[in-house]
């Protein structure tokens, strides 16, 4: 009996060796281990043997069954691996060919710049508010301490609508609206388009501003200075020099202009900074008492500072854009250069 089993085993091994497909292996398995398989028959016949034989033959039969099963599995895995490999060889894609899809778009540099500015000042608690582009004369001028007869109106070449509305000349009216609807303390930024009725090579009739406003008790000019130094250095580098110069705006007193060490020549003097080594980048000051009065804040109770900057100019410096008109032509070859996270 034992010798029959040995013979069976070697026959099976031969059959396995001859099988070269997964289905061939399966045939072998069925003929030996299937319900009616040779080995299965032997195992079925064990019950007819004597107890002694049952023990020895049974052990041998089970051992051989395990060996055959393992051999079949091993052969099948080998064949499956070969088949898969053969399939992979025929199923290749040249992944170095262009990906299918339209790629990423680009963010307009003005948007990127605005985002950088808003995020930077957001770190010290400024949040954005917005307002309409067509404004009332009151919000754009009177409330900002610029009465009709004020010579400062000359500084604003204003577009008027036929019904008397004005295209805002700065985003300060957004601050007026904010103060009219919210009680102090306030820490806001007003980004947006502004309009001036003059245009030449270096001026666009539409450009972008961001104005900031902080109102609270006991706000000082020293804090304005600190805020703007933090802001400009965050954007242009910690080592950049920043200086403050007295200036005049109807809506702030004291007022100042803020100069940044020229980003092109690092203060040595070049064409961009007109050989001064400085770039005038912001206007700022302590909010004028008349502005507080116009919005119903009590200038005896609160003080505040405001600042404004031209996003276009800053973007031109930041991205080294030479001509402001590029910003509004929206030429695909220009915009596409501004991919990636701002």
């Amino acid at each position: 009996m034992i010798s029959r089993l040995e013979e069976l085993k070697s026959k099976c091994e031969t059959a396995l060796q001859n099988a070269d497909t997964v289905s061939g292996i399966e045939d072998v398995r069925i003929s030996y281990l299937g319900k009616k398989g040779v080995l299965t028959d032997i195992l079925k016949g064990l019950k007819d043997l004597s107890n002694e034989e049952k023990a020895s033959v049974g052990q041998a039969a089970n051992q051989i069954k395990t060996q055959i099963t393992d051999a079949i599995d091993a052969k099948r895995h080998a064949l499956e691996r070969d088949e898969m490999n053969a399939k992979l060889v025929s199923d290749t894609v040249d992944v170095s060919a262009p990906g299918v899809g339209r790629g990423s778009g680009a963010s307009h540099p003005l948007h990127r710049m605005e985002k950088l500015i808003v995020e930077c000042l957001g770190r010290i608690g400024f949040s954005t508010v917005s307002g309409p582009e067509i404004e009332t004369e009151f919000n754009n001028f009177e409330a900002l301490n610029i009465p009709a007869s004020h010579p400062a109106r000359d500084m604003h070449d204003t577009f008027y609508m036929k019904d008397g509305g004005v295209l805002r000349t700065h985003t300060s009216p957004v601050q007026i609206r904010a103060m009219q609807t919210m009680a102090p303390p306030l820490r806001i930024l007003a980004p947006g388009k502004v309009f001036r009725c003059d245009a030449d090579v270096s001026h666009s009739p539409v450009f972008h501003q961001i104005e900031g406003l902080l109102v609270d008790k006991h706000v000082s000019f020293a804090e304005l200075k600190g805020t703007l130094e933090f802001f400009l250095r965050s954007l242009f580098g910690d080592s950049k020099k920043v200086r403050f110069r007295p200036s005049y705006f109807p809506f702030t007193v004291p007022s100042c202009e803020v100069d940044l060490e020229c980003v092109m020549c690092k203060g040595k003097g070049c064409g961009i900074c007109k050989q001064t080594g400085w770039l005038e980048v912001m206007g700022a000051g302590m909010v004028h008492r008349n502005v507080f009065k116009a919005v119903g804040y009590d200038p005896e109770e609160v003080t505040g500072f405001a600042f404004g900057l031209g996003v276009d100019r800053l973007a031109m410096l930041y991205y080294q854009i030479s001509d402001i008109r590029l910003l509004y032509e929206n030429d695909a070859r220009f915009i596409s250069q501004f991919k990636g996270a701002a």
């Binding site: 019904d163 509305g165 600190g226």
Partner: protein, 842 residues
């Protein structure tokens, strides 16, 4: 404005290097935009007289001159053409250095020794061009150092004057700030003492004292707060001294004639505009009055001006002779034959002067100065300064001044007596510094403020610190504490007359101290109070996500002007209204506020197409201005050309599918924001879009926008030859449609069963109406349904039908569904939709 440093030095002994001065002025609010040094290298130039001129023996174009400097005779060979014997000229002797740095040496010209050179204005750095040798007035003293005599060595500061600093539009004003910054004394100018005369008068009438005096009357006291006139006689054909001409030139003013030059000189020096009438042409007394409607005046520029009431004129018995503060009249203009003049110095109302100047489009230097507000106390001084100069230089006879005052209009400036209470502690808190009393009050005094320390404006004069009589306490703004008005940290300051239109509160006083002390010295710090976010910027977050979505899907952002052209309105069939039309556009192409973003995008596509960029996808966030509504923010985008099909693999090229692809992107963008139940309808009846490929997008409660292929007529109007698909959505409606953060709901885990169904539908039946019936009739067990095939075939279905295949997914949360249950539900569902729609089951 240009200022001669030499001139400034007549008022203040400032001796720092000019670059250092320029920087310090810039940091004090007088922005020096440029510094020009003149004649820095000049030396050794003397005044000489040409005694004889002889021909050069060997050169036709040269002459040999004998020139004396009063002591020595020098032989000089020159090629100059414009000289004659007896001319007085600048001479550079050997060793002298010219403006360009060239040193003069003794030499020989064609064999004749030449010991120097006769100089032109160019060689002395006075002008860029010269016709020949500079011929000097005959009375120029011989032998003097000409560089010193004619004040050729100078530095010119070009200073940008801030709008509120009209007082700095003068040498005196600049010198005054310098004196404050450098703590130097400010010197007075020499003037004629007008009080020696007897012609002083106040009020509406004038008097004369001497024969050649003029009288003046002020009938427009609101328009003219102060008018002075005086006669100056016998000034005929006096030549303006060189030094004065030189100062005018470096200040950018062309010398004209003596009287004009002196009035310009004093204007530059003291900032007060002056006007000289030819006395012989003035008929009778001078009257300041409002113009009559329709009154005519020919101004100096020979224009006839039609005046209206409210415009201030100066008139004599024969009518208007000047547009007050703006421009003189032609009738009384001075000329070469003028011997006697009437000199006017006045203070005209800034607002009225500005209005008059604007009405006549005559923004003269004089008008601009009056607009900015002048020192009313300086009017008489300026007249006296002119009188002094003319008298001392030309020996003219100066008449008494006639003065007719009015009053300043009811404005901040006039109701203000110039007194401001300043609490230095509050001031220090506002700036964030620790100025001492000495520092602050000293600075103010040097700027011309009166400072009464320890006194407030209500307690009158004379009270001094620590007098112990009254201690006035009050609660102030920034401090919320009792302020001791008798302390050395408190003062009542009197604003100088030349700053009263500008300095109206203690904050302006603070600014004055701060700018003079310098902003550098303020130690900066970040805001100290706690951080408050005034608004939750949900909107910002949502917008930023929308932005990123389109960028990630290959769209590039553009930013356009908010206005488009009237032409665009026509192209897009908008009605333009007054509230959306700019009355003073720069160009017709930017004259109307856009109602939609579409034309802006079509302009960009047109621009790109004309530059060989024929495919792309762009989007814009921006304001729109519906003619009948409020300003709103839209997001719009276009895909143009074969952008969707731009793959190189044939299997990706799906021509004609772009509208639905765009719809897919837009709907995914909305879904990504959390807009649920997006509904798209086929209707869209406006001329912008292809009538058969356009739709509207809405959320459950709000219309959101529209999309579709752009109408070929629009494309044609913009010169675009590639197809364009477009969407535009209202951002605020989108924000309103964003659902709050999602909440988890348990989902079924038991096996589901799918049943498919194909239906034949009429082609003109919108998918959305089929879908809405499906959702309406859907049994509870059907958890999900979707379209998985769409098929058209003229052969099998006919030209007007198409087949749609849907999958219905059945699932129960509680039990595993049996075929019987699913079949029952499915059969009922199919029956319900067949009954509700004109369809057949395939």
């Amino acid at each position: 404005m240009k200022f001669s440093l030499n001139w400034i030095r007549e008022f203040v002994d400032i001796n720092v290097p000019v670059d250092e001065l320029a920087e310090r002025l810039t940091l004090s609010g007088l922005e020096v935009e440029g510094v020009e040094t003149l004649g820095a290298s000049l030396s050794g130039i003397v005044v000489g007289r040409i005694e004889s001129i002889e021909k050069h023996p060997d050169a036709d174009k040269l002459v040999v001159c004998q020139v004396t400097d009063g002591k020595t005779r020098h032989q000089i060979v020159t090629g100059a053409q414009n000289i004659k014997e007896g001319d007085v000229v600048p001479v550079s002797l050997p060793g002298a250095v010219l403006a360009n740095g060239m040193e003069i040496k003794a030499s020989e010209l064609r064999g004749v020794p030449s010991n120097g050179m006769l100089c032109s204005e160019t060689e002395l750095g006075v002008s860029d061009e010269a016709a020949g040798i500079w011929i000097l007035p005959q009375d120029t003293p011989l032998g003097v150092d000409f560089v010193e005599y004619a004040r050729l060595r100078d530095a010119v500061l070009d200073i940008g004057i801030l709008p509120n600093r009209g007082d700095c539009q003068s040498v005196l004003g600049i010198a005054r700030d310098i004196s404050a910054i450098y703590e130097l004394d400010l010197k007075e100018v020499e003037i004629l003492d007008s009080r020696s005369g007897s012609g002083m008068t106040a009020g509406g009438s004038g008097m004369t004292a001497s024969e050649k005096s003029i009288t003046c009357r002020n009938e427009a006291p609101d328009l003219c707060a102060m008018y002075t006139a005086r006669t100056i006689s016998n000034v005929w054909q006096f030549a303006t001294p060189l030094w004065m001409q030189r100062r005018l030139q470096v200040s950018g003013v062309r010398p004209i004639s003596f009287i004009v030059d002196v009035t310009n000189y004093v204007l530059l020096e003291l900032g007060q505009p002056l006007h000289a009438f030819d006395a012989s042409k003035v008929k009778g007394a001078i009257v300041v009055r409002s113009a009559e409607d329709g009154e005519a005046l020919v101004t100096l520029d020979e224009q006839e001006r039609k005046l209206v009431a409210g415009q201030c004129v100066i008139a004599d018995d024969a009518g208007a002779v000047a547009l007050a503060g703006v421009m003189g009249g032609a009738r009384t203009e001075i000329n070469d034959h003028t011997t006697d003049v009437v000199l006017e110095a006045a203070w005209f109302d800034p607002v009225a002067t500005r209005a008059t100047a604007t009405a006549h489009v005559l923004r003269t230097d004089s008008a601009v100065r009056f607009e900015k507000g002048l020192d009313i106390a300086g009017v008489e001084r300026a007249s006296n300064r002119v009188a002094h100069l003319i008298k001392s230089l030309a020996g003219a006879e100066v008449g008494d001044i006639c003065q007719a005052s009015g009053h300043t209009k009811d404005s901040d400036a006039s109701s203000f007596d110039g007194k401001i209470d300043v609490d230095l502690n509050a001031l220090n808190r506002l700036i964030g510094v620790q100025y001492t009393a000495d520092q602050a009050w000293g600075t103010l005094r040097r700027l011309g403020y009166g400072v009464a320390v320890g006194v407030d404006s209500r307690s009158g004069s004379g009270m001094t610190a620590g007098s112990g009589i009254t201690v006035v306490g009050s609660v102030t703004a920034a401090g919320s504490e009792i302020v001791d008005h008798s302390s050395e940290m408190f003062a009542c300051v009197t604003v100088p007359t030349w700053r009263r239109h500008d300095v109206l509160g203690w904050q302006e006083v603070a600014e004055d101290i701060m700018r003079v002390v310098g902003m550098d010295s303020i130690a900066s710090c970040l805001p100290r109070e706690s951080v408050v976010q005034v608004s939750k910027s949900d909107d910002e977050r949502v917008l930023s996500q929308l932005h990123s979505f389109f960028i990630a899907n290959g769209f590039s952002q553009v930013i356009n002007f908010s206005m488009v052209g009237q032409e665009d309105a026509v192209k897009c069939d908008w009605k333009t209204t007054d509230s959306r039309t700019i009355s003073n556009p720069l160009t017709p192409a930017e004259s109307v506020m856009r109602e939609r973003i579409l034309p802006s995008l079509l302009r960009v596509v047109g621009h790109d197409a004309s530059r060989q960029v024929n495919r792309g996808a762009i989007f814009e966030f921006g304001s729109v201005f519906p003619s009948d509504g409020v300003q709103d923010t839209h997001l719009a985008g276009v895909v143009y050309g074969d952008w969707f099909e731009s793959s190189y693999r044939p299997e990706d090229k799906l021509a004609g599918a772009d509208v639905l692809r765009l719809k897919g992107i837009v709907c995914a963008a909305l879904e990504a924001l959390g807009v649920i139940q997006i509904r798209v309808d086929k209707r869209c009846d406006d001329g912008d879009l292809h009538p058969g490929q356009a739709g509207t997008i809405a959320s459950l409660k709000h219309a959101l926008g529209r999309f579709g292929k752009v109408h070929p007529a629009r494309l044609k109007a913009y010169g675009i030859s590639v197809p364009v698909s477009y969407f535009e959505i209202n951002v605020s409606s989108v924000l309103k449609s964003v659902r709050p953060q999602p909440k988890y709901k348990a989902f079924g885990v038991l096996p589901h069963t799918r049943r498919d169904i194909a239906i034949v539908v009429p082609k003109d039946l919108a998918y959305s109406s089929i879908e809405s019936v499906l959702y309406k009739k859907k049994p509870k067990l059907c958890k999900r349904l979707f379209l998985f095939d769409r098929f058209e075939s003229v052969e099998h279905l006919g030209a007007d039908k198409l087949s749609l295949a849907f999958a219905f997914v059945y699932q129960d949360d509680e039990t595993t569904l049996t075929d019987e249950v699913v079949n029952l539900a499915h059969t009922e569902f199919v029956a319900a939709i067949t009954a509700a729609l004109p369809i057949e089951i395939r």
